[in-house]
């Protein structure tokens, strides 16, 4: 029994036949299910692993047809028209498919029909291996419940209230009445089931996997051994990346321990890369901290977030420097997080705090179109209030416990708040900025908010 947290309640996500026989159903809350079966065993659902399993299954299903699409509720849709004869007809194909799945321990339900809607209905609500001969789809659907058409829950309930439970009843009804009462969706599904309306099947795009793995006869635990194996895996992965002119932005190394625990190490790269030495160096630190337990007997390396990286002419000078910097950013980013290695880019705003954009250095190029405009401080900090009143620049003030005396003041530079954006720091309205030279030497950037009279220090000049 697999449960899943939906909203605040644990609900049944998937259940076996015994549980179904006991009267449980999908979507039921776990508490209700427990009341029906006190000795219920449940585990939480892992949706991402379910999804990747289904994707693996979709890849496998391409042995039967090139057009395989993944659908919701763990469904695979295969377009076998024109491919069935290769396996000796539809019947043979279906039994081959189900037989293979059963041998690998999977319970699957299947249906073959002219249209996707009918096939889905047969698979879900039929016997589990139903086949509709050409042109007989509607006849086969006749005794199935209306729910099988894949309608909204609300529509199903109101149909049931009207006493329409079977698809056959629905198909015999007048179209105008149905359209008025239930909207277009119902008719669309019905037409799709008949084959009057085409349904688009979007096949799963084959995603090339760049990975390599190695099984070891004897478990290893030494850092040197693992580095050696990693190097060989990297060689294979990087060669396949190079062949496809692709580069990876992330790499994941999964080490299976003898006691069946997985150790996963993921590294990020500041630029798409496929260089063996550079990537290998980034793994060094994590491998040293890896917990090997009783030993590792299988290592898998995968390239994730693969993007295009065309071959380049080798040059001297700048390219190399950029590579070095990208390596450094990768190293730092893997330890402190890529969001904490930043670059500043110019932006169009009069508000000093918004006159630049902070972006992750790994995902941006340096900008050089900085403009020198008004007098701006070298250092800025969050505004620190001063105990001073009045509209004029205070002649004496205390800042950070230091007594300051104003010698010269330059200003004001009035900056208006961007009223179209609600910035909590600018709720007090416009600001008058002043450059203040103090007798103590420090040159400060003060501002005054005329709407709510107060003085603040917000920056320091060179």
């Amino acid at each position: 029994m697999v449960v899943r947290l939906q909203g605040n309640a644990w609900r049944l996500h998937c259940l076996n036949e015994t549980a179904e026989a006991a009267g449980l159903s999908r979507g039921m809350s776990l508490a209700d299910a427990r009341a029906l079966c006190p000795d219920l065993k449940s585990i939480p659902a892992d949706l991402s692993r379910d999804f990747s399993f289904l994707r693996a299954l979709a890849r496998w299903a391409q042995r039967y047809s090139p057009v395989v699409s993944m659908e919701k509720d763990h469904q695979l849709l295969l377009d076998i028209s024109g491919a069935a004869h290769l396996f000796g007809g539809e019947e043979a194909l279906l039994s081959d498919l189900l037989g293979r799945l059963a041998r690998s321990g999977l319970t699957a339900r299947a249906g073959v029909a002219d249209t996707p809607v009918a096939a889905r209905a047969l698979a879900r609500f039929g016997s589990g291996q139903d086949m509709a001969p050409p042109g007989m789809a509607m006849a086969m659907l006749d005794p199935l419940p209306v729910r099988a058409l894949g309608l909204e829950e609300k529509t199903c309930i109101s149909l049931q209230r009207l006493g329409i439970t079977r698809i056959g009843q629905l198909a015999a009804m007048e179209r105008e009445g149905l359209l008025r009462r239930f909207g277009r969706q119902l008719l669309v599904q019905l037409d799709r089931a008949r084959g009057d309306l085409q349904e688009l099947i979007v096949p799963e795009k084959p995603q090339p996997v760049y990975g390599a793995s190695m099984n070891l006869a004897e478990p290893v635990g030494l850092v040197r051994d693992i580095e050696c194996i990693l190097d060989r895996l990297l060689e294979r992965v990087c060669r396949s990346l190079e062949k496809a002119q692709q580069g990876a932005r992330r790499m994941r190394l999964t080490a299976r321990r003898v006691d069946r625990g997985d150790v996963v190490v993921t590294i990020g790269l500041a630029r798409p890369m496929r260089s063996r030495e550079r990537i290998g160096r980034l793994f060094e630190r994590d491998i040293r901290h890896m917990e090997a337990g009783f030993g590792i007997d299988r290592l898998t390396l995968e390239a994730l977030d693969v993007t295009s990286l065309p071959l380049r002419q080798l040059t001297h000078g700048e390219g190399r420097e950029r590579d070095d910097l990208a390596d450094l950013i990768s190293r730092i980013g893997n330890r402190v997080g890529f969001e904490n290695v930043r670059r500043y880019l110019p932006a169009q705003s009069h508000i000093p705090e918004k006159s630049f954009i902070v972006s992750a250095a790994a995902f941006s190029a340096p900008a050089s179109d900085w403009t020198r405009g008004h007098l701006r401080p070298l250092i800025m900090f969050a505004p620190e209030p001063l105990a001073a009143g009045g509209r004029d620049v205070p002649r004496f003030f205390t800042w950070r416990g230091m007594r300051m005396a104003t010698v010269r003041a330059q200003g004001p530079e009035r900056i208006l708040a961007e009223w179209w954006l609600d910035d909590p720091g600018w709720r007090s309205g416009m600001r008058d900025y002043w450059f203040v030279q103090t007798r103590q030497g420090r040159r400060l950037w003060l501002f005054h908010t005329p709407r709510e009279p107060a003085w603040f220090v917000t920056g320091e000049f060179a």
């Binding site: 420097e321 070095d324 930043r342 500043y344 000093p352 050089s368 250092i379 030279q437 060179a462």
Partner: protein, 205 residues
Amino acid sequence: MSGFGPVLKRGRVHEACGAGRFFFAARMCARQEGPVLWISLQRERERIFPGGLVSCCDPGRFVFAFARCNRELLWIGEEGLRSGAVSVVVAQVHEPVGLTAGRRLQLAAEAGQTLGIFLVDRDKGSPSAESRWLCTPLCGDGHEGISHGQEKRGIVSDSTPFAWQCIKNKSGTLKCWTGYRCGTTNHLTLVEQAAQPAAAPDSSV
């Protein structure tokens, strides 16, 4: 008169303290070519403002790294110095760098031939620093670098006088520079003063 001002040795880590240390570091970065790694803590109050930095050097050269703790900051510093990918590493530190850490940083700087500048609080320097600079902004009358005639016409230079005082130097003498930057032309004028004894009284930091 020396227009070039102090020269910091590459492949070593230097320290700067005092209220003018940011300007000192920015000026030293402007003198070097190539990218700069600027490291500070995430909770750091004083952040470099690119709009003001642009008057010293191109902010596009800078990569800013934000460390969660002092230990991480030192690690980033060491990595940056050793890699040789950047020409200058600037770090804003608040805790004194220990003897071992300081030595490691020096070795890393030597390996990468990188210039390291650590911005430290007053009296929190590390004994391993190659040199230490006390940078103090001075109060000027606003007439530096302006001829008498211009002054009479009411032109203010909005200059920024300051003093850079070398208070520790492992390989050389202690010197002191005073200078100012012309706000309009951005030209830096530096005057070398006679050597002064270390530990000048300063209460502003």
